[in-house]
Amino acid sequence: MREIYVAQADEIADRDRKVVIDDDLEIGVFRLGDEYYAWESNCPHMGGPICQGKIMNRVDEVLDEERRSKGFRFVDEDVHVVCPWHGFEFNIRTGAHPGDANTRLNGFEVELRDGAVYVRV
């Protein structure tokens, strides 16, 4: 186990990420509010650079009481990163694909210390 310095905590804006290279490893550290999450930038689908993808909220479909479709909405609490290669989406908090919990990102432990973000690999 070793530690990689990523950035000063305030260098990463809310709902943004920093993707760092450490030898053959690429790690994306995402910030949501005061929480930080680290994922390997290697999509389980085809190895795409997942952490360099767009950050978007999960899309949900709205049904009324008679189960009629009323269109789409964004779910604010479920923030996704989207693989720029093929569009696989993953929940930034859990690393899981929204439709297949077995398809998930490889994660790392994050530590905040003295205003800086570190990842243990």
Binding site: R17, K18, V19, V20, I21, D24, E26, S41, N42, M46, G47, G48, P49, C51, Q52, G53, K54, M56, V82, P84, W85, H86, G87, E89
Partner: protein
């Protein structure tokens, strides 16, 4: 971006203008890890983004009146002139989620090398390809153009532009030329005009059209291609206007069905009307319908043929026997179950009949590693699918460094 010793320490978000060498950096890493520089790889289907070069293409229209009329489009720029593309293609990028799905916007040097060649070279280097067969985006819809003659004008212009302007630059970039299939005699003229030109790998029919492939008007064309030893490919595409597909309200639904439906119809007509018996030496290829449709149509036609053989009197064997002798490209290779994919590849004789295709830069592209990483294939099968099957049917020169494995 931070750097350490000249190397980047961090990576930026990929957007619509990101250089494709950066987008495909992981493809290069995969190629290095698997030793792809020692594997002969041919990409049978990739696509040229036409937006920028379309005005140049318009200059190659034979008819002077139509050529002049192109100037009236796009505020005089000729961009998009005469095209019948539908909004469907613009939905490919999942509403911004897949930036390159809207076409590559990156700058190129603008030197003597055409942009198409430069973009193709970038892709070939990152994916470790030896040849790339390209096809224009704009022509994928052309079989549905409401003006029958426009298919001929635009196809000839594009074929001329490719043959005169693009293909001579780099022999690793090849093309299957567009056949204006709605006009059979003009399709024959296309073969006569371009057969044997450098870089012309074969001829292609875009499958989104309402023309039965068994119509008698096409027999002379097929005979011509068979005699010349040329591949006849059918490239599937979307069609959101058909009565059935027009019921589908999401791109995912339409794309999943439409890219298969057109080739299902054409392949069924091809087999049941006995075209494999009429043209036994014609190499027929089916592009971009994936693989999962094949076990379905093989079983379905065999099942019905046993009961209704009088409707297909030219057949001397089971329908699936003929399908097993056709050629198919791999992308988009449905791979959610090893068991089903292995059974599919077994059913279609993938080792000799399947050819790798990337479909780059479209949203559902596949890398060579998709084939290489399949545990149930042996190395010979992988090398055949990635390159040697293509070399065999397209008569491609195999570089010296691969001769040992090619001989095996």
């Amino acid at each position: 971006m931070d750097t350490i010793g000249g190397k980047p320490r961090d990576l930026s978000e990929i957007n619509a203008r990101t250089d494709s060498r950066d987008i495909l950096a992981h493809a290069r890493q995969q190629a290095d890890l698997r030793g792809f520089d020692d594997v002969f790889i041919v990409d049978i289907d990739s696509h040229i983004d036409d937006g920028g070069n379309w005005p140049d293409v318009m200059g190659y229209i034979d008819d002077p009146v139509i050529r002049e009329a192109a100037s009236s489009f796009g505020d005089g720029s000729k961009r998009g002139a005469f095209l019948n593309s539908t909004p469907g293609l613009q939905w490919q990028n999942v509403f911004g989620r897949i930036p390159h799905g809207q076409g590559l916007k990156e700058p190129t040097d603008g030197g003597d090398v055409p942009r198409e060649i430069e973009l193709s070279r970038r892709c070939m280097n990152q994916m470790s390809l030896d040849y790339q067969v390209v096809f224009p985006n704009a022509l994928l819809f052309l079989g549905m153009h409401p003006v029958r003659e426009m298919e001929i004008h635009l196809a000839n212009a594009y074929n001329r532009w490719l043959v005169e302007h693009v293909l001579p630059v780099d022999p690793r970039v090849q093309a299957m030329l567009y056949l204006p299939f709605n006009s059979p005699t003009d399709a024959e003229e296309t073969v006569k005009r371009f057969l044997g030109k450098p870089g012309v790998a074969g001829f292609l029919v875009t499958s989104s059209r309402h023309k039965p492939v068994h119509a008698n008007e096409y027999m002379r064309l097929y005979a011509m291609l068979e005699e010349a030893g040329q591949v006849l490919a059918f490239h599937s595409h979307l069609n959101w206007q058909d009565e059935y597909t027009s019921q589908l309200n999401r791109f995912i639904s339409m794309h999943a069905i439409s890219f298969v439906l057109c080739n299902l119809v054409h392949l069924t007509n091809w087999v049941i009307n006995g075209l494999p018996e009429r043209f036994p030496k014609l190499n027929v290829m089916w592009i971009e319908s994936g693989l999962a449709w094949l076990p379905f149509i093989m079983q379905r036609l065999d099942h019905e043929y046993l009961m209704r053989s009088s409707e297909a009197p030219l057949l001397k064997r089971m329908p699936s026997d003929y399908i097993r002798e056709m050629f198919f490209t791999s992308q988009p290779m449905e791979h959610t179950s090893d068991k089903l994919l292995e059974a599919t590849m077994d059913a279609m004789n993938a080792e000799t009949q399947l050819l790798y295709a990337s479909d780059w830069p479209h949203w559902d592209f596949d890398l060579p590693s998709r084939i290489w990483d399949l545990d149930f294939l042996d190395e010979t099968a992988k090398r055949n699918i990635l390159g040697y099957n293509a070399a065999r049917i397209f008569n491609l020169d195999i570089p010296e460094k691969y001769q040992a494995t090619a001989a095996q």
